[in-house]
Amino acid sequence: MSEQTAVARSPIAPAAPTVRHGWEVDATVTVGPLTLSDETPLAKVSVRAPFDGAARRALGVRYGRTGRVDLGGEGVLIAGAGPGEWLVLGAPGTGAALVASLEELLAGTGEFTSVLDLTHGRALVRLEGAAAPRVLAGVCAIDLADAVTPDGTALRTSVAAVVTDVVRDDRAGVRSYLLHGERSSGQYLADSLLEAGAGAGLEVTGFRGLG
């Protein structure tokens, strides 16, 4: 009898499936200037607390902004996409450890907080490239100009009519947006972005991680 290993799957079907970090991911590698990657394997933890209290100070990120911090020895990205709501992104497979670290961090605040691992219930994609705002503007009504939504902005809005957390997380000076939504909308969201970006040369690439 052969040994079997559980593999987690993203809601977005990969073109060339391979397994990394216990997840089925796309092995495709693209070097084009405009890419869409499925980042669903990243650990996704939701934190809810009073929007401007001790928990916010402990997390170090206010509503509407993002921050990269070290949490339990892991580099994580915290996005304040809603008032009193934070999304914490970490490396694949670290969800349980992130929950434990966050609970420990927030225990001393004296506030009513909740920490929940949403990794397998959500979809996450990254749209990256200088033309990313033009693609996103086709499916989203937010002003994506630097003056309004600079690097480090986190917000929730409607993207292709799907409620989505939009996190601007530029990498090496290149425009980059993380788009986070319900798992059941993941494939539709990815397809909508690919359709909106077809004219701009948007290509699919494999999982890259937080970087």
Partner: protein, 92 residues
């Protein structure tokens, strides 16, 4: 396109919101008569002019907002968080 100035998120298109209805005090369930409940649930003033309404920002901050809107011109003169009273000036 109608823009609603959310105190938390800034100006957003009205399609991000759900219209809840005219804002008015809820009768006391312990003492309200069936007629009062029926009036509260189904009878609306529906003015042609300024109206205080409740809107839910379903695709944004997920907060209920109290909006003063002119139903003829769609002009909006005041928006605040229905639960906390937070205005755009006071939001972080």
């Amino acid at each position: 396109m109608m823009l609603l100035p959310c105190p938390w998120c800034g100006p957003r298109t009205a399609t991000e919101f759900r219209f809840v209805g005219e804002a008015r005090p809820r009768p006391d369930p312990a003492t309200a008569t069936p007629e009062q409940w029926r009036h509260y649930l189904y009878v609306h003033a529906n003015p042609c002019g300024w109206s205080t309404e409740t809107w839910y920002h379903r695709a944004g901050c997920r907060r209920y907002l109290s909006v003063e809107r002119h139903t003829l011109t769609h002009e909006i003169r005041a928006v605040r968080d229905a639960a906390t009273g937070t205005t755009a000036e006071a939001a972080p």
